[in-house]
């Protein structure tokens, strides 16, 4: 009896051993055939391939950023950053915000999207279109729900409804406007290709050309008060005015060869950023300018600056802050 039971144990052990091995082989073969399933990776806030063209900061410290592939990132003051579901993959060229909840972003092919709920939802709105091309480069917002946007084919758009509806305020022409700025409800400027500058004194009802001292494209405009303003452009172009934009003068000497794409007045100094990691700074008189790099390692382009207090948010090929004379790349969580 004992012998028989031992014999049975042998057989059971043998069969279990062989079956386990065959099973392991089979499972492994099937697993390998299917290959591994990719680990789920959450969409990062920003990734190396992202190009962030526009940045805006509102009073409570909320930062809005917009860029390629329809990406909008909203960062709350001393909090985290989140990618917004914009529902588009078209490139966004700029963003502006009235407050932490209301914002508008513009981009390629006449794309305009707005949010009223802090970016929880975005709505695409229709805009007047050109038959030829419709890239919108810049948008600026003003109190009372007003917004101005500019782009290709001489496009100047105005909204008085928090970006929900838009009207064209210029004739179509084969020229791209790169930036727009209003110093009050009536007086505003647009700058664009071929050194073009136009001014309005009637709230954008009519626009008239202002003589420009350069032929190269102008990309950004800013005023520190009603009289003193600066325009930045390609190939290191810097123009200044001290008469409220009636006349513009090229800064003497070549400050930099780099393209200047973004411009801001921080209350004490002019700041401009552009290609090659350049940071150009000018004193309040607009006479003394010097070019430097954001840091020795920073060589990529930057297209926009937003100022809040002592901190400047600078975006482009990389994103970071300039504060107390130091460039710090943004860390996202």
């Amino acid at each position: 009896m004992k012998r028989k039971s031992l014999h049975s144990i042998e057989w059971v052990l043998f069969i279990v051993c062989a079956a386990a091995l065959l099973l392991a082989g089979g499972i492994s073969g099937r697993y390998a055939a299917e290959t591994a399933v990719s680990d789920a990776l959450p969409e990062p806030v920003l990734e190396p391939r992202d190009r962030i063209y526009g940045v805006a900061v509102v009073d409570d410290g909320t930062v809005w950023m917009a860029g390629s592939n329809g990406k909008v990132v909203r960062c709350v003051h001393d909090g985290g950053c989140m990618v917004q579901q914009t529902g588009t993959v078209r490139h966004l060229q700029d963003i502006a915000a009235w407050d932490a909840r209301r914002a508008v972003a513009v981009g390629n092919n006449g794309l305009v999207i707005v949010t009223r709920d802090g970016g929880a939802s975005w709505k695409k709105v229709s805009t007047p279109r050109s038959e030829i091309s419709n890239k919108l480069f810049k948008v600026h917002v003003y109190p009372g729900g007003r917004a101005w946007a500019v782009g290709e084919m001489g496009m100047i758009l105005r909204s008085d409804t928090w970006g929900e509806t838009w009207q064209r305020r210029s004739d179509e022409r084969d020229l791209a406007w790169n930036d727009i700025l209003f110093t009050d409800t009536l007086r505003g400027w647009v700058v664009g290709e071929f050194g073009s500058i136009m001014q309005t004194v009637d709230g954008g009802m009519t626009w008239c050309a202002v003589p420009s001292p350069v032929q190269s494209s102008l990309t950004a405009i800013a005023f520190k008060d009603r009289l003193h303003g600066v325009i930045a452009g390609l190939s290191g172009t810097i123009l200044t005015t001290i008469d409220g934009g009636l006349s513009w003068h090229k800064v003497s000497g070549q400050v930099t060869q780099e393209h200047l794409l973004g411009l801001a007045w921080d209350g004490a100094e002019w700041f401009s950023v552009g290609t090659g990691g350049v940071l150009v700074r000018g004193d309040s008189s607009g006479r003394q300018w010097r070019a430097d790099r954001l840091s020795a390692e920073e060589l990529l382009w930057h297209s926009d600056i937003a100022v809040t207090g002592a901190r400047k948010y600078i975006v482009g090929g990389t994103q970071g802050t300039w504060e107390k004379g130091r460039w710090k790349l943004m860390e996202y969580n």
Partner: protein, 776 residues
């Protein structure tokens, strides 16, 4: 096989011993010359599973999008950036001189000094694509500054051929696989670099041919270690165990003979050997020695019973013939199943291994007793050496454990170890475990260079994916280009991917250029026409082949190159899985993605093949044991006993590899797979001795005691010196791979020996198998 047959063969062999030895010597003489002609080299084609779709894509497109043998040279300025005349001149010189290297693909020498690296500029004169730094190197400071600015603003150059911190430049060179010999390439490149080295630059070099060249440089050292190990074995055998020149010389003579035969046959069959295959040679030599030592040991035992020398030789041959042949056939069969892996290198290793093993049947099993029959003295082995007393004491302990209640403790502990090891072995990685090459030590010059490359550039290992359009000009379609960009973006999210580039990047960069370099226009065109114009602007005035890196002349297929930070198994698995995931959900209309070429693609293919093959190999190996043991002992239950040591040693080895960070790759698989049969003869000899002895003594206790003391002694004599011989490899080898494998083999042999001495006797005594008891 009947017992009578073994004895008849033994009697015949001893009677015709002169004929037999003459025939063996004749065979050796015939095979001596071919054996010395075995080519030791790395054949890249042999390392690839040609049927695998990745390898097919690689073979189809490697000439355009980069092969697996790209060598990357980094010229790093020791101070400041590279934009100094002297350093740029060196980059230009190296780029030019690389054309003289044997087997080089002249069209695939790329650096900032190459004619094909162009920048497109838009100005008042129109749009022009001009070489970045060809034919002349700028020498004025203004020109150097302008070059620096141009590089930084060229997305296809900055970060790829010049590091982001501008301190290093990359020169990449590819080879025609069929015309390339690693050692020669390696030497020629080092000679070129030597002429440009000085204090102003650090020049480092990586790439598969360089790695193999490094390995081949260690060939003399490795051969020396091989012979030193064999000599050490002889010394140990003589001093501590045999105390007889004959007893020492015969196993070594068997190794020599079987080596000549195996290499001679391999040479005649046109099979060449890999430099790393020496570890396999060591593995098999170890087995030859095991068989020979067993035969001598058995002869010693029989002769001690006052039997004449010739009679003892005949009886030892008769009694060992069955277990010896069973071991050899099982072992050879286990090695032959490795050929199921569709990689030529593994198939060659498998064939050489099997042939070598079958040679053992003649040299280890037959020749050793025949040579012993000519011994001049009767008491050659009957010496009282203190060390053998130690062995006898250890063997008594084994017997005591097997026959007392301790056997349950040993078997229980074995089961526990097995369980833990099964758990641990689940972490075994297919592919490489660490960045750099696992063949070399982490602090080796090569692996340090790999780390430096990865610090300054997106990634050292390239992997390309091909998008094949259905019709001509498919690659001008915006939806396909957008799809490519989305694909790159999706895959780049893996941290193991340093970056990528494709024709879509090129078109986007072109559009930015024609819009005055404004990055707001870094995007592809809205329609086929505008993308076509952008491509036309790039290729106008260029040389044939300049755009090949991105697309073909019909714009039908595109290569998307990913730069991986390493080629670890996990990296490739994750990246490939992510690519497949994208393709599954985003396959575009009018085109299809095909994975994957470059060193990353083919390594992924090898890993996949190894993954699917390795368990298949294990299962088939066990089936072979099942068949051979069943035929020999006429019961399937015998196979179970012999499977135990094999399963145990395999699982413990896998667990060791998993915990030591040794991956299962094309280099380790042959060792692991060929090792399946390693030491199985230990168990077979003990097992067979128990059966034979039971017939004689009639009690299982006496049979086990006899088997452990006699066959077990042979196990210790064969295993212990081999384990010690693995130590020089472990401590002295300049190749980490050989050091790891030496330890692995030592562990494997130890487990096999321990199984034969502790587990087999214990199991037999507990289960009392019918086929042993019925042999009374």
């Amino acid at each position: 096989m009947a017992q009578g047959l073994s004895e008849k063969i033994a009697e015949y062999c001893i009677r015709k011993r002169l004929h037999l030895v003459s025939a063996f010597l004749l065979l050796t003489a015939v095979l001596l010359i071919p054996s010395m002609r075995v080519d030791v080299k790395t054949v890249f084609a042999d390392l690839l599973p040609m049927h695998h779709p990745f390898v097919q894509v690689h073979e189809q497109y490697k000439d355009s999008y980069g092969g697996a043998n790209i060598v990357s040279i980094m010229v790093r300025a020791t101070e400041g950036d590279i934009f100094r005349y002297g350093i740029l001149k060196k980059i230009q010189g190296i780029t030019r001189d690389l054309r003289t290297v044997s087997g080089v693909n002249e069209f695939q020498i790329v650096s900032i000094a190459a004619r094909k690296i162009k920048v497109v500029t838009a100005g008042t004169h129109g749009i022009a694509a001009t070489p970045l730094m060809w034919p002349d190197v700028p020498d004025s400071q203004a020109e150097l500054d302008a070059l620096r600015e141009t590089v930084v603003s060229s997305p296809m150059v900055y970060g790829i051929f010049v590091s982001r911190d501008l301190s290093a430049a990359l020169i990449s060179v590819d080879f025609v696989d069929e015309r390339m010999q690693c050692r020669i390439v390696c030497d020629e490149i080092y000679a070129i670099l030597g002429t440009y080295s000085d204090a102003s630059v650090d020049i480092s070099i990586i790439g598969e041919p360089v790695l193999q060249g490094h390995v081949e440089r260690f060939l003399p050292e490795t051969l020396m270690l091989f012979f030193a190990s064999i000599a050490l074995f002889g010394f140990l055998l003589y001093v501590f165990f045999m105390r007889s020149w004959w007893g020492t010389a015969i196993p070594l003579f068997s190794v020599l003979l079987s080596t000549i035969w195996a290499l001679g046959i391999a040479s005649l069959l046109g099979i060449d050997a890999s430099p790393l295959g020496i570890v396999i040679a060591f593995l098999i030599s170890a087995q030859v020695i095991s068989y020979s030592v067993q035969a001598i040991n058995r002869f010693d035992i029989v002769h001690a019973g006052n039997v004449s020398i010739a009679g003892a030789a005949q009886r030892s041959l008769g009694s060992l013939f069955r277990p010896g042949m069973l071991s050899v056939v099982t072992d050879a069969g286990c090695k032959l199943v490795v050929a199921l892996t569709p990689i030529v290198f593994l198939q060659k290793s498998s064939f050489i291994g099997s042939i070598w093993l079958l040679c053992i049947a003649l040299t280890g099993v037959l020749l050793t007793p025949v040579l012993l029959s000519w011994l001049p003295h009767a008491d050659t082995f009957n010496r009282q050496i203190s060390f053998t007393h130690g062995i006898d004491y250890a063997l008594s302990l084994c017997t005591t454990i097997a026959l007392s209640g301790w056997r349950y403790v040993v078997l229980g502990a074995t089961a526990m170890v097995l369980t833990v090891c099964i758990f641990l072995s689940s972490d075994l990685v297919v592919g490489d475990v660490h960045p750099g090459s696992p063949l070399l030590w982490p602090d080796s010059e090569y692996n340090q260079s790999v780390a430096e490359f990865n610090r300054l550039f997106p990634g050292t290992d390239r992997l390309f994916v091909v998008l094949e359009g259905v019709k001509k000009d498919a690659l001008k379609e915006p939806h396909l280009l957008e799809n490519i960009l989305a694909f790159q973006r999706y895959v780049e999210r893996r941290p193991e991917v340093g970056g990528s580039n494709s024709i879509a990047d090129l078109i986007a960069a072109m559009k930015q250029v024609i819009y005055e370099g404004n990055p707001r226009y870094n995007e592809i065109g809205d329609d086929v026409l505008s993308n076509g114009e952008l491509l036309y602007l790039y290729v106008q005035g260029s040389n044939p082949g300049d755009i090949d890196y991105y697309t073909d002349v019909e714009y039908r297929t595109a290569g998307i190159t990913f730069f991986l930070r390493d080629h670890r198994g996990q990296t490739l698995k994750s990246v490939i899985a992510r690519m497949k995931e994208y393709i599954r959900t985003h396959m575009p209309e009018g085109a299809r993605y095909r994975l994957a070429g470059g060193i990353g693609g083919v390594t992924a293919a090898v890993n996949e093949v190894i993954y699917t093959s390795q368990l298949k190999i294990a299962v088939y190996a066990l089936l072979i044991i099942l068949v051979t043991a069943t035929i020999t002992y006429r019961t399937v239950v015998a196979a179970f006993y012999l499977m135990v040591p094999i399963v145990l040693s395999s699982i413990i080895t896998y667990a060791f590899m998993a915990t030591s960070g040794i991956g299962l790759n094309i280099n380790t698989l042959p060792v692991v797979a060929l090792g399946v049969g390693l030491g199985v003869n230990y168990s077979i000899y003990v097992f067979d001795f128990i059966k034979e002895s039971y017939t004689e003594h009639g009690t299982l206790q006496a049979a086990i005691h006899d088997a452990v003391h006699h066959a077990g002694r042979g196990v210790v004599l064969a295993a212990l010196p081999l384990v010690v011989c693995a130590l020089p490899w472990y401590f002295l080898s300049s190749l980490k791979f050989l050091s790891d494998m030496a330890l692995l083999i030592a562990i494997w042999i130890s487990i096999s020996a321990a199984s034969a001495l502790f587990i087999i006797p214990g199991l037999v005594f507990i289960l009392k198998p019918d086929f042993i008891l019925s042999s009374k």
